[in-house]
Symmetry: C2
Subunit: 184 residues, 2 copies
Amino acid sequence: MDAAHGIFVDGLGAAASTSGVLSLLQGRIFALLYLQQAPLALEDIASELQQSKSNVSINIRGLIEWHLVRRISVPGSRKDHYEAATNFWRVMQEVMERRFRWTVRQVLAAITESERALAEDGGRGRGAAQRATAAFVSGRLAGLRLFFTAVDAAISAFTQGKPVTADTLQNVIPLAASVPRQRG
Amino acid sequence: MDAAHGIFVDGLGAAASTSGVLSLLQGRIFALLYLQQAPLALEDIASELQQSKSNVSINIRGLIEWHLVRRISVPGSRKDHYEAATNFWRVMQEVMERRFRWTVRQVLAAITESERALAEDGGRGRGAAQRATAAFVSGRLAGLRLFFTAVDAAISAFTQGKPVTADTLQNVIPLAASVPRQRG
DNA sequence: CTAAGCGTTCAGAATATTCTAAACACAGCG
DNA sequence: CGCTGTGTTTAGAATATTCTGAACGCTTAG
């Protein structure tokens, strides 16, 4: 591996490790493959990056799931070979859907569950103070739902190639709990 | 903490832990504060979530940096109090800039460094094969740069409230290294 | 049918991260 | 002044993650 290649592998590895999507090693594997004209065998990747085959095997599976790497069969050889994919837009769609949107849905699900628990609880507590608290909580949940629903819609539009504006998001600002005096 | 509150805290904790932005505990802290009418002291948060004060202290610092929580001073008390912020758009801008965009810049920096190393190397190797390889690598780096530059611009536009379309991104598809025969 | 080559799985080692409790620093009160 | 109640720092414990090498199963060459 020459100098440029080494720098690229290290750089993408570092970027990947802070991405929240790929591991450091996955970044390195992709970088190695991306600058390669011919597909590489698992063993070649492992030795080039000084990692065990098992580790490369596991990490490369993730890269394939993100559509960042393709497994291809090379005629003369029994080994699996791999090459970098270059349709980055496809990868981005995948990340948007499977990671960001999934997290958004998790939040929405939590809100829904909390609202249900709150409603069931309404049959119990009776005091005026308790009703006021419930109303406050309900309002807060509604505010968060509004925002995350908008985010969900924005991601959906973006991945479908439609233009996206932030204006819905910008205007979702529930009232603060108190008038804060910021501290120095 | 009542049932609805508990569900919300657990749900946001789970969501946060897979977000790549917040830790599990940060998700829980925010959830706790968000459903609270009055600001809470550090100690209250720690005892409610069954964590040490030091741990809460460290995690809450991150929440403040993301503008998800505000530190406020309560007249009667010497303790620091905290309340949830509700300007989620602001938070999103921050995350876009400080996390996504930063990763994008890391990739662009890696590309630039690699290109420089490649150019310096050009003064050395002389064979036709070596020149062809260098040309290929150069093309690959250029392709990646194109895409990530577009992503950078898109993030920039989005955080400034301008509409964003994916069309630039969709069309950045460098040629594959080989014509792959996909394996079953 | 056997043996070799290959990728994957798995138990445990190596490493990184998260968390705690004790020590510390700093403020306000007596 | 010193004492008390704060938040922060820090060293190390607890936990989670990543990595390795051996074992396994599958395929194919001989």
